[in-house]
């Protein structure tokens, strides 16, 4: 960990960060269970292993700051303040979900907390994030937007188009590249030439690489960049070196043809962001083992309760099918 210059100075903040990371991991474990027990419609992409990225960054944001998320979006959603109940309801296609069941895992959004939504088009939210930052400039607000995306998404031309505009217009947006080493079943090296940070720098955008398994390092950098972006010094680019524990999606079980079990084991055992932070918290005397276990237990119960609730919740009424196509037409096909 980065003990020097701790970004948060009080226990409450540290513990909230820890709790948020555990909430993400616990959410994912439950989502995976729902899939394995065939209770969840479709597939979903697990964020486990990358918790320090979402939490380190989102803890540097205000509620009115915006984020855009990805197909691997549960972590961002939780970290930006969402509740388990509405999230699980959405994953199960229930009426009480954040999107009334219409979006599902790949489109989960939580506008009340500034989460403009997951996106099933890789790189698809880069314009949206840049536009949200444009709105802030336009309306004279000091909101900052963080655009989350994977290393694979750096291959999408859209990124270069919007980075160019963000740089020209000094927009308060931070491009946060979650480099987990893989795009689906392909190693990043095989599909990304040159250097990812240099690509941002070529547009005059200050870029940083950071250990994405170290929540304090991430948060420290995020705090600084967010503050500077708020002052009009943006845009910025962050490359966060991280790892996903599960397959590309919940159904990607046999993955030895593209990465070894040893590699997975190494990341899980030696660099787990939650274990590392927990060890630090205890070592620094910020929390006792018991307090940590109590947090873990509480989160587990919250999750179980939310899952139970969601499983028993109502599906949307079929009449909703042609609602929300347009804002001003109640039922488009009526």
């Amino acid at each position: 960990m980065s003990p020097a210059n701790p970004p948060r100075t009080n226990t409450e903040d540290y513990l909230r960060m820890y709790r948020q990371m555990v909430r993400i991991r616990t959410f994912e474990d439950n989502a995976n269970q729902l899939y394995l027990s065939a209770k969840m419609p479709g597939l979903t992409h697990m964020y486990s292993g990358e918790e320090a990225v979402a939490v380190g960054i989102c803890e540097a944001l205000k509620v009115t700051d915006k984020i855009t998320s990805t197909h691997r979006g549960h972590g961002h959603c939780v970290a930006k303040g969402a509740e388990f109940k509405e999230m699980f309801c959405e994953l199960l296609g229930k009426e009480e979900g954040y999107c009334r069941g219409k979006g599902g895992s790949m489109h989960i959004a939580d506008q009340s907390n500034g989460n403009l939504g997951a996106n099933a088009i890789v790189g698809g939210s880069m314009g949206i994030a840049t536009g949200a930052a444009f709105t802030a400039r336009q309306l004279g607000k000091d909101d900052v937007t963080v655009c989350f995306f994977g290393d694979g998404a750096t291959a999408q031309g859209l990124m270069y188009e919007v980075m160019n505009m963000a740089a020209l217009w000094k927009l308060p947006v931070i491009y946060a590249c979650e480099n987990n080493g893989y795009s689906e079943y392909t190693r990043t090296e095989e599909i990304a030439a040159g250097s990812i940070t240099a690509r941002a720098e070529a547009f005059g955008i200050e870029a940083h690489q950071v250990d994405g398994q170290d929540v304090l390092a991430v948060n420290d950098l995020a705090q600084k960049l967010v503050a500077r972006a708020r002052q009009g010094e943006g845009p910025f680019f962050m490359e966060l070196m991280t790892y996903r524990y599960h397959g590309h999606h919940v159904g990607d079980i046999n993955r030895e043809y593209y990465r070894s079990k040893e590699e997975e084991k190494d990341w899980k055992e030696n660099r787990d962001p939650i274990t590392r932070f927990r060890t630090w918290l205890v070592a620094e005397g910020i929390a006792s083992e018991e307090e940590i276990e109590a947090i873990n237990a509480k989160v587990k119960i919250d999750a179980t309760t939310a899952v139970e609730y969601a499983l028993n919740a109502k599906y949307p009424d079929p009449v909703e099918v042609d609602m929300h196509v347009f804002t001003d037409v109640k039922h488009t096909l009526a």
Partner: protein, 331 residues
Amino acid sequence: MREITLSQAVNEALAEEMRRDPTTFIIGEDVAEAGTPFKILSGLVEEFGTNRVVDTPIAEPGFMGLAVGAAMTGTRPIVDLMFGDFIFLIMDQLCNQAAKTHYMSGGKMSAPLVLRTNLGATRRSAAQHSQSLHALVAHIPGLKVALPSSAYEAKGLLKTAIRDDNPVVIFEDKLMYQDKAPVPEEEFLIPFGAANVKRHGTDITLIGTSSMVQVCEKAAEILAAEGISAEVIDPRTIVPLDEDTLLASARKTSRVIVVDEGHQSYGVTGEIASRINEKAFYHLDAPVLRMGAMDVPVPFSPALEDITVPTPEAVAKNARKLMSREMIHAA
């Protein structure tokens, strides 16, 4: 009433709405000092400044995506896409993102933006600068699609589009930018989904969109001289589509031709013709005829380009056929 060009009408609509709503802004290539290559936006940057009339790099997917995000967070972008043909570049941001935002979020978010672009051939601009691609976006739920047929509609529909809380795509006819029409001085809006009966008639209905409204009107004149009374209808918006007006006319005249400048196959004419066939079938004395642009890329050579688009003469000829029941033998 005073007459102004379609270009001026667009300019006025933009200026009025931008004065009314400070969250609106224009974004696109060469929209500021240059006022677009068509000079439609002249003067706007002087009034509203470069923060609200924003010149972009040549990055259509990028500025379209930016507009979607801006719209989702409280501003009202009016995107200027220089040629309708470039819509192919922004389909993902328009159709996968903007069109679906409201629905996918269960009604919690929306993307109130306007995409202004154009259509129309016979400008000697060849295959990548002459297409009429409105059918493509009309196929995607969540987008409204307006096709002004004169300066009057251009102003009234654009003002409505800007106030609409949904993504709206508006296709202007490039060839009509310098055409004048009466446009009131006082403010007005034209509601979406309200077709306009341009000319009343009893024998046959000519439904024309955009550039083809004039073609239908000219055809109606030719036919009038021959004693055939043609009704001419401009749907004005194809999403939403004012079925009632179209059906009422079809039931009255029993004969219909649908004329549109998009390619005929898998385009707008098929949809309109089908709706009429489905819902007015037993009133029809002849099949609904369709006349779209030829199913060929738009050729450069004037000798070829001009024959790819429906003309008044061709419409009149088909109308005569329908009237003479020649179609029976054709079928």
